[in-house]
């Protein structure tokens, strides 16, 4: 495989501190990250800053990455699995400009991977850090709107409301109909939102060799799953957790194992299935 790491050549933006955030802010985020790692799955509040892009575009993930990143790092950014979408290109370029960092599209070459809504197909290894962009960090939020209540439910490990919602889904649809942002139990203690990744990716979170950090900018929460930590997707004995399967294979690389995106390719409704993970797909062609 060719080496696709691109050494940064962009002029550095000298008007900002290294990696955009000031040192005081980075220390605050770093302290939050340490506590997040010490209590896996617990959402640590942090003093989220305004970033030069709107909420919903990865402000939480960017702040976590800014607190992590150094000149020795190689950064990969994906949006729905793709390296070449607007959000991914913008964030990669942002860090090349403010953090003088090399960038790559190859999962194996990256030391930090910031992701929106996918986990790479290529298994991650020790030393890599996966940074998730999280829109709504609280897994119980759609069931209980009050923050004071959800915080108490987590404190008491009182998760009956979540089990009931999954049961109601089975009663109505005959199966657990949730296909993304599928809730997980971390280390047997905290129910956690894995961010809106497809449930297909949930098994990759379990006992991963890489550190997982989750940043929610609007809600100002950071949480983490350390390496080798049990992450169990919630289910019932008679309705075990299952991931999506496809009868089709990728039209470009032929993969039958990766997460496939469905595309409409003409006005007559002709459909095509391709890998969501562009780096994985390209490496197989």
């Amino acid at each position: 495989m060719p080496d696709t790491t691109i050494q940064n050549t962009l002029p550095q933006d000298g008007a900002y501190n290294y990696a955009y955030l000031d040192e005081q802010t980075k220390r605050m985020i770093r302290r939050a990250i340490l506590k997040a790692v010490a209590v896996p799955g617990y959402q640590v509040p942090f003093g989220g800053r305004e970033m030069p892009l709107p909420y919903g575009w990865g402000t939480g993930g960017i702040q976590v990455t800014a607190a992590l990143i150094g000149r020795d790092d190689t950064l990969k950014v994906i949006d729905q699995g793709a390296d070449d979408t607007t959000n991914a290109v913008s964030i990669r370029r942002f860090f090349a400009r403010v953090a003088d960092v090399a960038t790559t599209t190859h999962t194996e070459e990256a030391t930090i991977i910031q992701t929106r809504h996918r986990v790479p197909e290529t298994p991650l290894k020790d030393g890599q850090i996966l940074v998730f962009q999280v829109p709504i960090p609280e897994p119980l939020r759609m069931l209980e709107p009050r923050e004071t209540e959800t915080r108490t439910l987590h404190a008491l490990s009182e998760y009956g409301v979540m089990q009931v919602s999954l049961y109601e889904s089975i009663a109505r649809h005959g199966r657990i109909a949730k296909t993304y942002n599928y809730p997980v139990m971390v280390n047997g203690r905290y129910i956690m939102s894995p961010s809106p990744i497809p449930k297909f990716d949930n098994p990759k979170l379990d006992h991963s060799a890489a550190l997982q950090l989750y940043g929610a900018g609007r809600e100002k929460r950071i949480y983490a799953v350390p390496p080798h930590t049990p992450v169990k997707s919630l289910d019932f004995d008679d309705h075990p957790f299952e991931i999506e399967t496809w009868t089709e294979s990728c039209a470009l690389c032929g993969s039958t194992e990766s997460f496939l995106d469905e595309m409409i390719v003409d006005d007559t409704g002709k459909r095509l299935f391709v890998c969501s993970d562009t780096d994985y797909c390209e490496s197989r062609r």
Partner: protein
């Protein structure tokens, strides 16, 4: 009047702090792993360079520090006040970070353990130990550890591991530890169970 020369802090704050942070994060993500903090400032000499590197990376005006009597010396106070800007407090419960010398009794008593709703509001303690290996081996299990790891930190007193078991039993509350010796450290988050 005596004048003392203040030991230097970071030479390039953003990059030095970033490298040290990644070292500490590696240690917290892999409890039991010995992590070398390269290029940590030497400090005034009373504390290990790993402890100095940890404190300069994380402590600032928002994080009160508590120092054990044996290391609460003028040169240490001057150094941490000048380079980190951290207030030094007398009460353990007020401290975000504590620095302790191994071997004393009740090492964690009185420090903040967080609350059930905010377990993150707990202290992180740096424990100065003579060596990170060569001591009595213990088996560590928990998040960040692939099955189990054997760690043999030297110089911890007899009551240390029973005190840790009590702390671990408080999960998700409890203090988190960093064992420092020379330029190396090992992290022990509250999530890890230790079989001594």
């Amino acid at each position: 009047m005596s004048t003392t020369v203040l030991a230097p802090g970071f030479t390039n704050a953003p990059h030095d702090a970033q490298r040290l942070f990644r070292g500490v994060l590696d240690a917290f993500s892999h409890p039991g792993r010995i992590v070398e903090l390269r290029d940590a400032p030497a400090g005034p000499g009373t504390l290990s360079t790993a402890a100095i590197g940890f404190l300069l990376t994380f402590a600032d005006r928002e994080t009160p520090l508590w120092l054990e009597a044996g290391i609460d010396k003028q040169e240490v106070r001057d150094f941490l006040r000048f380079h980190a800007g951290a207030p030094i407090v007398q009460a353990r419960e007020a401290a975000t970070f504590g620095v302790i010398v191994a071997g004393g009794g009740e090492p964690f008593a009185g420090f903040a353990i967080g609350t059930d709703t905010y377990p993150d509001r707990a202290a992180t303690l740096v424990i100065e130990v003579p060596a990170l290996d060569g001591g009595q081996p213990a088996i560590w299990r928990g998040p960040g550890i692939d099955r189990e790891v054997r760690v043999a930190i030297d110089g911890l007193g007899d009551g240390f591991w029973p005190a840790w078991s009590a702390n671990h039993a408080l999960f998700p509350c409890g203090v988190d530890l960093v064992f420092a010796s020379g330029s190396r450290l090992i992290a022990l988050p509250r999530s890890v169970a230790v079989e001594a």
